[in-house]
């Protein structure tokens, strides 16, 4: 085991922990072991990049580099306009998005971990020390990530805006970190209290997706708070702004640097300081009950009734010909629906598929009126939901429970190709179609029924793209047979994935051209259908 610099720094705060009646040496030991174990795993942000699994700090340092790179995003905003409210709210909004996403995807497992209860809670250690170890563990990473993220913007700030500006920003980002940690835990706490048993485990998955979507949407809201007048962003206080945390953090700048003492600004400034502190205080009050409720994750729930009717299954009977294929279709549907590790990796990108089209559609709202949009061709933005197809089809070969795959070897399967075909169909019906349906309903509401043929074309191109993605990634394997961790290892796939995203752009282009031809759309629809039928027949011969 190593000597960790972060722990040495932590040693300075020893008195603080002692006054909180925390057994510092024990906490330090637990942290040392946890950090050692972390070095031996790969953080998710490196998913597509790590070519080989190397032990040691390299992995985490590399991921810090990525955060530093993300930090570049903040730099333009430092120069955007003179309104502190605007600059800071946007910057804090982005930081919140980045840090929270990382917290959810990488550290939810730490927060919700109950596996080591049997190891740690059976030892003579006070629960207070254990929860402290948990939260400090997360805090160490969050501060490293935050540090990397704001490194470049900080340098720029010091040189262009002066040291005071930077110091306020630094204090705010620390407060933000506290707020994010507390907020995430509070959300989980709420869910843990509301649900139990198997349902709870499923819901936690969806919460992770919802949080991810929430931040994307929140960012959009923040941008729209400002009126763009004469090259300048004007801010007007409304009461409901107190509900949007990024706005809080803009106010202290106005207060301290512009001596702006309006009630709104003062109120928001107070919230920027009080909000994080109160949320951390609530967190520390509720932590024991949180740990107690975590137990629910261990409970076995009672018998579940079999669902009498299932839409996806009925569809399956329709689109799968052979008995064997139907069996695999059913199996794949269940895996896609229930396998938690798989869902954790894949569902967030499904959330993106749902959100991206709207983001790009609403971006047009800035310079077009709503009725202009509904007359135009912006409905092509719905294609943005197709860019995740490549990623998800690639992920279909992985599973957290890959060891169960011996059944494929020991059973007499007649047509090997039927297995994967069934899985792809299950993906389309189970995951893709619901997203497209939701999008379609909203788009039809905006653009009227005239776009129905276009929507069908989008769906057909998705089917074709699934087939292409399958050809690109698959090498004669069965689905759900590779360990999820090895999803990181194949670096060459990043290129392929980008290629598949470019393919989506190609589909959009063709669609756009076809729209210029009278009735071309129906011809294109026919051509796509034929390509699909022939293609699927050929590939799965």
């Amino acid at each position: 085991m190593h000597n960790f610099t972060s722990l040495k720094i932590l040693d300075f705060f020893q008195p603080l922990f002692r006054t909180m009646k925390i057994d510092y040496p024990t906490m330090r030991k637990i942290l040392e072991v946890k950090l050692t174990m972390d070095q031996r795993r790969v953080p998710t942000i490196l998913n597509d990049m790590s070519k080989k699994k190397k032990e040691g700090k390299n992995n985490f340092l590399l991921s810090l580099l990525i955060y530093a790179f993300y930090g570049l995003m903040l730099v333009p905003f430092i120069f955007l306009g003179d309104s502190y409210m605007f600059q800071i709210s946007i910057m804090i909004g982005i930081s919140m998005f980045i840090l929270m996403t990382s917290l959810i995807s990488d550290f939810s497992s730490v927060l919700l971990n109950i596996r080591d209860k049997a190891i740690l809670n059976t030892k003579p250690i006070h629960p207070r020390t254990l929860s402290a170890a948990k939260i400090v563990h997360i805090a160490i990473y969050l501060s490293l990530i935050t540090g990397a993220f704001i490194a470049i913007p900080s340098v720029v700030m010091i040189f262009t805006k002066g040291i005071v500006y930077f110091l306020i920003f630094l204090v705010e980002i620390i407060l933000l970190g506290l707020f994010i940690m507390a907020f995430t835990v509070l959300v989980y706490m709420f869910i843990l209290r509301l649900f139990d048993g198997e349902k709870l485990k499923d819901i936690i998955n969806y919460v992770q997706i919802l949080l991810a979507i929430g931040v994307v949407v929140g960012y959009q809201i923040v941008i729209r708070l400002f009126d763009f007048v004469d090259q300048e962003f004007i801010y007007d206080f409304s009461w409901w702004h107190v509900l949007i945390p990024p706005i809080w953090f803009g106010a202290p700048f106005e207060l301290l640097l512009n001596q702006e003492y309006s009630i709104g600004i003062i109120l928001l400034s107070i919230l920027a300081v009080i909000g994080p502190i109160v949320s951390i205080y609530i967190y520390s009050l509720l932590m024991p009950s949180f740990e107690r409720n975590l137990q629910k994750l261990m409970e076995e729930s009672g018998t579940r009734k079999k669902r009498s009717w299932n839409l996806s299954e009925s569809v399956g009977r329709f689109i799968c010909i052979s008995k064997e294929e139907r069996a695999f279709y059913r199996f794949s549907s269940i895996m896609l629906r229930r396998e938690r590790d798989f869902k954790l990796k894949v569902y967030p990108s499904l959330g993106m598929a749902l959100v991206f089209p709207f983001i790009f559609l609403f971006n047009n709202l800035g310079y077009q009126s709503f009725s202009d949009i509904s007359q135009g061709k912006s409905y092509l933005t719905i294609y943005f939901c197709n860019i995740i197809i490549g990623t998800v089809v690639y992920m279909l070969q992985f599973s957290g429970k890959y060891k169960g795959a011996w059944i494929f070897q020991t059973t007499p399967i007649h047509k090997h190709s039927a297995v994967y075909r069934a899985t792809l169909k299950a993906f389309l019906v189970q995951l893709y179609l619901p997203i497209l349906s939701v999008l379609s309903i909203v788009y039809i509401w905006i653009f009227s029924f005239r776009i129905i043929p276009d929507l069908i074309i989008v769906f057909l191109s998705a089917i074709l793209l699934v087939l292409i993605a399958y050809r690109v990634f698959n090498n004669g394997k069965y689905p759900f047979t590779e360990p999820l961790e090895s999803a990181n290892q194949s670096g060459g796939n990043t290129g392929k994935m980008i290629l598949l995203m470019v393919a989506v752009a190609f589909f959009v282009l063709v669609h756009f051209i076809v729209l210029a031809i009278p009735f071309g759309i129906y011809g294109y629809l026919l051509v796509l259908s034929i390509i699909n039928i022939v293609g699927w027949k050929l590939v799965f011969k």
Binding site: V33, M37, R41, D116, I119, T122, K123, P124, E299, G302
Partner: protein, 265 residues
């Protein structure tokens, strides 16, 4: 085993998960030097009892006393003299065997250098010297189990809770563990373990406690149980007391269903 010191006492212990009663009033006193075989059908509440005694589960009814302390109001110190082997081989398997044992020893407040020496010697006795610096994730099930058993012994506990301690171990290792438990009991340690392997329980337990539907259905030495139930083996006693005498019938029925399926194909 002369001095009978009360080590553990359960008084009217009840527990329910989301409305389902798992334990419905368990009363049990355990004295030092006893090897308790805690048996019962699947889902009878054995693991729950163990978890309550270890302070892993709160919200139970009744009273649990360990070493004379009520664990609901005591601080964590009662855990100091307890060793525990969990049932599902939960272990930080990205650590090496050595790192893991050292860590666990330290959590019990042992000095690092001392644990290291102790752990190394113990690993050697269990034939794991070669792999002590390999990660546990590369271990076979039996090797993991050995590490877990060692981790429960490092701090020289007076009370051992073992949940299926023999799972995955080969016949030779099972013999070592059996003798080990006996030797520990001779030294005045108390061992409380649950298992489904009846002939092992029969051979090493000085007292057998049978849990059915969240209540104790039988309690005594093997000979006492034999006398009461007029069955020759613990397996027989188990079947009788859990009210299960259908095994022949069930087996026949299963086979007939299997065969029937064959006709259709």
């Amino acid at each position: 085993m002369g001095n009978k010191e009360k080590v553990l006492s359960l008084q009217n212990l009840t527990m329910s998960y989301s409305g389902k009663n798992v334990l419905t009033g368990v009363n049990l006193d355990v004295y030092s030097g006893q090897i308790i075989g805690y048996i019962g059908p699947n889902g009878a509440g054995k693991s729950t009892t163990l978890k309550i005694m270890l302070g892993l589960i709160n919200g139970y009814g009744g009273k649990v006393e360990i070493f004379g302390q009520d664990i609901a109001i005591s601080d964590q110190s009662f855990k100091q003299k307890i060793g525990y082997v969990p049932e599902n081989a939960e272990v930080y398997d990205t650590l090496t065997a050595m790192e893991y044992l050292t860590f666990i020893g330290e959590l019990y407040g042992l000095n690092r250098e001392k644990v290291e020496v102790k752990a190394e010697r113990l690993l050697e006795e269990f034939g794991l010297h070669e792999v002590m610096h390999s990660r546990i994730s590369s271990f076979s099930k039996g090797m993991r189990q050995k590490v877990l058993i060692l981790s429960s012994l490092l701090h020289n506990p007076d009370l051992l809770f073992l949940d299926e301690p023999l799972s995955g171990l080969d016949a030779n290792s099972v013999m070592i563990i059996k003798d080990l438990l006996e030797e520990l009991a001779n030294q005045g340690k108390t061992i409380f373990y649950s298992s489904h392997i009846m002939d092992v329980v029969e051979k090493i337990s000085t007292r057998i406690v049978l849990l059915v539907n969240g209540q104790i259905a039988a309690d005594g030495t093997f000979d006492e149980l034999k006398e009461k139930s007029k069955e020759g083996s613990l397996e027989g006693i188990f079947n009788q007391l859990t009210g299960f005498d259908q095994h022949k019938h069930t087996a026949k029925k299963v086979v007939s269903i299997v065969m029937e399926d064959d006709d259709n194909a």
